[in-house]
Assembly symmetry: D2
Homo-oligomer: 399 residues x 4
């Protein structure tokens, strides 16, 4: 086990919900969860179809007796096990519209949760989930995985340390092209549920990816939003949800944040990029080239910061998020695993009966998840009202 | 003389207004104007200060007798010369608030004009100038010089040829950092007039650079705007004009254009960049690396188009805008000179008594200039009304 | 288990040699070996120090009874286990000078081997090891991990498919800067053994990294070398081995390959990059940005190939090496794991008693390892003779 | 006139040799020569064909009476003019094999010369030309134009100021692809003379472009070479001269310089790039993106230096080589013009009877030209002897 696990002298036990044959994100959770050997995957409810649930288990090394077919089964059976053999947390990797029920039950049963994003189907569910978590003492993480990149954490630490001065303008963008045609009309599962309001929620591109861009801006800057004006578009005719959109957000400090999301930009792959302007410096980071960030200050050469765990400019949190020396690129899986790893630190503290941070955690948490759902709701509503300014202050937001 | 000059068997005669000692843009006009040896600079009103006007003349090879002190002097004296020795056009490189009077007089006197941008102090002046030009038969160009880059022209031709399909989304940005501090309070001339409403007009960053970003989007796409919602900010306390702003523009075809301008982004130099999404392809171009453009289509490798006058993918207009082989970079001066060169083609036609295009010219013209002034006016007004949607249809806009 | 495992209906059992506390590359092997859940790490000889060997085991989930202190122990004890509980392969992650003995014993005992590079201390050992492997039927892989990058495999397939025409010129470079100062005189383990001839062998930079650059060129092109002329330098005074060097290699087809390696280029991290010129096209790939490769053909736009498992331009072998969609970067660990994964395919065939390729494997093998040792030997000798041309034909080299 | 012209109160008078209709480089010289308005083109011997010489003159604004048909004519007629109307310098833009005779006559007649590169047909001619120049007091520049880029000059000043420490390794490359096919067999003039030994000299790619790469390394580093080992190749069958080559050069300080030149790398345009490793820092610069240079030092963020005339890190010589603010790209023409501009400074001093530097000039001079011819000769000879080490010390080389 990685030594940052503190004194918890064992591996955490993980259960995976979703991830049955044909799933994509389930495998990512399973891989990220164990990458650092601090947890083992011991149980799962991989599918609601009993046969598929059983059949999918071997690929995850889940024993038949712990291959459940529902969260209810899982909870009941795991609770019947002795505490030292019971799962510590469940990872929820099912389609959006099912997150809420699963996560709520898991929390109420006392299991820690790592939930895919968007956290729930709508903001109402999110608020209820927040209340549930607040009543519990579980660790609840949301897989806004892009926050796990070492240089994203470095950016956050730089802002906190004042290296950018006061942040006044942020431009956060998430540009893809894969839904340029109506893939959902063919047999493409990923496209199908993402463009189906009954599964995806009220927003398409804005739910799927603008939430990441918004979360990234909030995570790095810590600056609270005031109001939002949003403009969603559906450029592919016949599609039920937005595939393009743009939000203008007034920040409480007087600054301006713009969020752009596209699923219809030809050839753009997964281009999440953010530009942050502070009174003392500016930053640019791009997910497709994640081991590099550019920090600029007038009068100085532009500085390329790389993911260098030995560099004097790197903050401790960022250094601790690196596994390999500079120049040996780390990427998506490692960032995802960093979110897990940080949640594990809190789980270890909980397991030892110690206090742990709930709001300003280094991993995205239930409040971030709820803020994301609020963002989606207000964006959709503003867009319906031709971009009317709607409030965006979420009372429990991180700073 | 360059052979594209058609049959005009002589060089055009240029007069420069502004550009006296200490000027920056005057020298750019003078250099660009003669770069291809199709014109010679023979007269000027380099300064309203008579001594300075005289003293500045030798550096431009202007003879003392043609070193005037005002546009009135210039017009009067030049008109007194025989036609075959009279200036053909005047380049207006003075501060914004003086453009209108100078340009209008020149047009009324029958001289062709190449006017710096923004074209006038406000939209009212612009409309009056349009009317004046329409009554005349002069060639009137506005130095939205970024349209002169070969790959920008290539982008325009690609859109026209349908290579991008229907353009639905455009993101045009102009990010600078040089006004991050209040340079205008020190002895920095460029900063001083740009932040002074009496000289610069109603907008700061939006007048100075967002107009370029807007013009670039319009020039390449040809798509007409419907309405604008704008949000300007002044982040440097005490500054009289905006130094940051963002406009959302509904396009008449249902698309969305966003324009962002910043003068306060640390270390950003002159970062005009544009992303264009069409139903068949997407484009990215960045002014700071102007010899390269990326064209993407789903299912194809991303294509890097370079400024290659021999390449089969290049349109004729773009090829004709190249002076050097691929890999031998061309840059700002050459792009500026391309605007001049294209205006010269029209001037040559006029000189020969032939018809020439007035609206959809390859060089930015008086209508583009007026559209830019309308954009500024509507953005400023929308921003004052908290981003209210205001019309942005300009009746004489190019397509 | 990943379904590409063929019909082998179980996970492979891995043993790790080396990797005790303080090791770097041991952890990389352990992570890569299990990344796809096709193997489990069940045994190890993590250190020759018995206490350290035991103490290191829990971090790898190795049970105390399988935490050995030597390869001899490991072999003896594992052979005593029933076949269905015995390790299938050993990964050798110890310092260079110990590889030979460990690997040879493992092979002779019938275990498959994945050996770190350089494969042995010198070419003589390498030849002996080759002979040993040839007498056995084990799978023997060498961790030239950079060949595991999907776009490197794509490059190889493109060459094989004739997309570059005949390859005539290759420039392969590996530029680092971390040994710019004499780190080895401080307490830096990685630097200490790499600059110690008794542990590293006859070459420093050329053994450590030029071998990778050479292997990469050979792997992608398949073109056989004829002769080498080499020039090694030790720029840090007092260092015992080369920290910079350059080799010119005549290829058997008349082409030219140059290999450059540096450990003393300030701020260069791990910059392995290769340029390949064929009669029909040219390629560039750079390890620090591994999800992108540029393919150029005169008369065509430059093509950026990305790691896109759905792209029509991608060959099957490259597609099969991707785990994530395009735009979701994969990196060092995944490439390393691809080498393991490919070796597993052969191990599965062996376990099932089927035939498997020995020379032109998709993973680097014992012949590649030997060719690398021959390269080092001839380079060192050539350099001693002022760059004299020495033969570089290795009789068992892949094509 | 630019004020850096010192006290010379007039424009210099330029004559152009070569540049007749169909020429490429003649127009570049003409444009660069007058870009800053410090010279005017008044005379020419544009072609040895009298009709063509006359016909070409108007495009350069050369009056018929000064449109000569030979250097002899030009010299005779110009010398007959009063001194204050006589050309100050001649620019030689003819094919390589004619440079020597023209330049020598011009020098002997007392005219300053700006000569295209390679300076002569062979080294013997070069030595004779050096002797001729040494006997005279003319200013003699050679258009190794890449030295004119502001960031190249910045690199040179950084080395001189010790910012890189001692330079130990340099890799200088010039990669093109345009001669991948035998263009010379079609009607392509540029290809035809460059591949014809009777016009181009003993080398093809090495004469045409490796000389630039070598000159760049020498110009920036100032380090003297000791010996060279070279390997030339002709990859296009039937071509008379090398189209690819590689030279290894031992430097007198113990360092290593490698020079690679290619004309057969598909799609590569004009990719001159250089990497310089010093004991204190390393630099990278690439001609195709000339407004940016990366400076790296271990332990520091990588620094992007841009062509910023206001930046504190820029040396005076580099600042003085900028015409536009940072972010407004300058390129090939401006760099070429910088070579002219620097030569003009010396011409002005000469015209005023003052002393001026002859060897370590900021512009490439006759000694650089001769060193380039020596480099070509020794490379060709070494290559013929299978890469034998040949001396490369040129006694009059700059430092």
């Amino acid at each position: 086990m990685d030594t940052t696990n503190g004194s918890l002298n064992r591996k955490l036990r993980m259960a995976l919900i979703g991830g049955g044959q044909g799933s994509f994100i389930g495998r990512v959770h399973a891989t990220a969860g164990v990458l650092d050997n601090r947890a083992e995957l011991v149980a799962g409810a991989l599918s609601s179809n009993p046969e598929k649930a059983k059949a999918s288990a071997p690929a995850y090394d889940i024993k038949p007796e712990r291959a459940y077919t529902s969260i209810d089964d899982l909870i009941k059976s795991e609770q019947a096990r002795p505490e030292n053999d019971r799962v510590d947390f469940v990872s929820v990797a099912t389609p959006n519209h099912t997150h809420f029920e699963i996560a709520k039950k898991a929390v109420e049963a006392g299991f820690n949760v790592i939930c895919d994003k968007p956290m729930t189907f709508d903001f109402k569910q999110a608020e209820e989930l927040v209340a549930t978590v607040e009543k519990s003492d579980v660790v609840f993480a949301v897989s806004h995985n892009y926050t796990g990149y070492p240089l994203v954490r470095q950016a956050r630490e730089m802002v906190k340390a004042g290296e950018l001065g006061e942040v006044q303008a942020i431009r956060s963008n998430y540009i893809q092209g894969w839904l340029r045609t109506r893939l959902e009309t063919s047999d493409q599962k990923q496209a199908a549920w993402r463009t189906d309001p009954s599964k995806s929620g009220a927003a398409g591109a804005f739910g799927d990816i603008a939430t990441h861009a918004y979360n990234l801006a909030r995570f790095i800057s810590g600056i609270l939003p005031a109001e939002v004006s949003c403009h969603l578009r559906t450029f592919e005719e016949g599609r039920a949800l937005d595939d393009y959109g743009h939000a203008v957000i007034k920040l409480q400090n007087g600054g301006l944040l713009t969020v752009t999301a596209s699923q219809i930009s030809h050839g753009r792959e997964n281009d999440l990029f953010i530009e942050i302007d502070g009174t003392k410096g500016s930053l640019i980071w791009r997910q497709e080239n994640p081991n590099e960030m550019i920090f600029r200050r007038n009068g100085h050469p532009h500085a390329i910061y790389t993911r260098d765990g030995n560099a004097s400019y790197m903050h401790e949190m960022a250094k601790a998020s690196c596994r390999l020396p500079a120049g040996h690129p780390e990427a998506f899986f490692e960032a995802f695993a960093n979110v897990y790893r940080s949640a594990y630190d809190s789980m270890a503290l909980r397991a030892e009966g110690k206090k742990f941070e709930k709001v300003n955690t280094i991993f995205p948490n239930v409040f971030d998840g709820a803020e994301g759902m609020y963002f989606i709701q207000q964006c959709v509503n503003s867009s319906k009202e031709n971009g009317a300014w709607l409030p965006l202050k979420y009372s429990k937001a991180r700073t």
